[in-house]
Symmetry: C2
Subunit: 218 residues, 2 copies
Amino acid sequence: MNDTVPTVPNRLKPRKKPIQARSGATVEAIHEAVIQVLLGEGLTRPTTTRVAERAGVSVGTLYQYFPNKQALLFAVLISHFEDMVAAIERIDVSGPKRPLANLAGDIAEAYVSVKLARPDATTALYRVAGAIDQFRLSTDVYQRLKAAVIRVLRHASNASFDDLDRVAFTLLSALAGLSRGSFGALVSGPEVLERLGDEAFLLCKAYLEAACVENRQS
Amino acid sequence: MNDTVPTVPNRLKPRKKPIQARSGATVEAIHEAVIQVLLGEGLTRPTTTRVAERAGVSVGTLYQYFPNKQALLFAVLISHFEDMVAAIERIDVSGPKRPLANLAGDIAEAYVSVKLARPDATTALYRVAGAIDQFRLSTDVYQRLKAAVIRVLRHASNASFDDLDRVAFTLLSALAGLSRGSFGALVSGPEVLERLGDEAFLLCKAYLEAACVENRQS
DNA sequence: AATATATCTGAACAATCCTTCAGTTAGGAA
DNA sequence: TTCCTAACTGAAGGATTGTTCAGATATATT
């Protein structure tokens, strides 16, 4: 009967708030289990039963925290994006303004460091995104990600931007592409990941310096 | 029993070569049907039965040309990449060498034009990629895509590159990311697609000029 | 026209998977 | 300890989907 995929998942929020301590650990275990299943031998798909099993709980338990499979996968992805937001918000903009090239380096490094923190998990996450029928980045997290980048860009001493939103969008998209490409090309050897950092920096620096309205250099 | 996804699809090539004329049309119809199904209301998934139905044939017929569903989806994607390769190979490098910024414009335009030729189809294709369990770009097409870009880069009058392969890879990845991002952000309005061309050009130009070993300007 | 071959059909099969729920176990409060 | 409720269990249901194959139909050949 269900011939289609719901345009908008009915519920994406956890079914219940953890009250006792153990339940918090359970949610985390389930999140991690999704990754682990994806990393398992033979391109195993993140079945609800398999994820639950890997997390050491039963399917019923899983369904106490996630209304459906989509919501589960979604939550895992969002969690990853939260890490990314946090990493970029951690860039220091408290001191005196800095040259654009400098900030470009910080952004590139923050971005890449999150992706490289757990290369296997990153690879798995790309497959999670694929397993979601309609993966439109929740506007909320993505807006915050853009905002975090914009906040850094404002701190440039020698440049300003006409359309900060547009620049942040292009920058993030390009970085996402480079990262995805690099992890996708992993089969041809791990050296792509070594070059990822350098190329990300080069890309950020070049694009930002081209997209900005150059000021007097301080 | 089949708990996993086959690491390598057993057969990705068409099951039979078209001998009579009608079969050629059938294959094309099936390809198009995949897109059409994906574009249908309610995020319909490309089921073998649904695709066949949309193509005006029966499932059995479908299975005469594709050994399995994976192969079908794969073929559709490859076909899209062939278009991209062709578009980039169409860039003129017969005349005298040209400035890098010029070539960057050609590459960006070729790339974007393919994606924008049928925006709806492009959107659908991203979902096709997601529906493939392990989408590792067939080395063959991708190598040719890179080669096509490299061929253009060699034609620069005022620049040369240390590592052409690496530059082409990063460029294509960044473009892919920008494109995917733009089509993904389509919900927020069609203006992203209008900016896509400009941003792609800016990105190409900036990155290439930063990645090259600059020569004397002719 | 008759025969051979290519192409197509679609019901049936087998497998997988998401989701539910009635019942059980564990934790905290009184 | 006793009771209440939170947390967990996992077999069963219901639905979808990939794939096959024996027979029907169309095209080419003699």
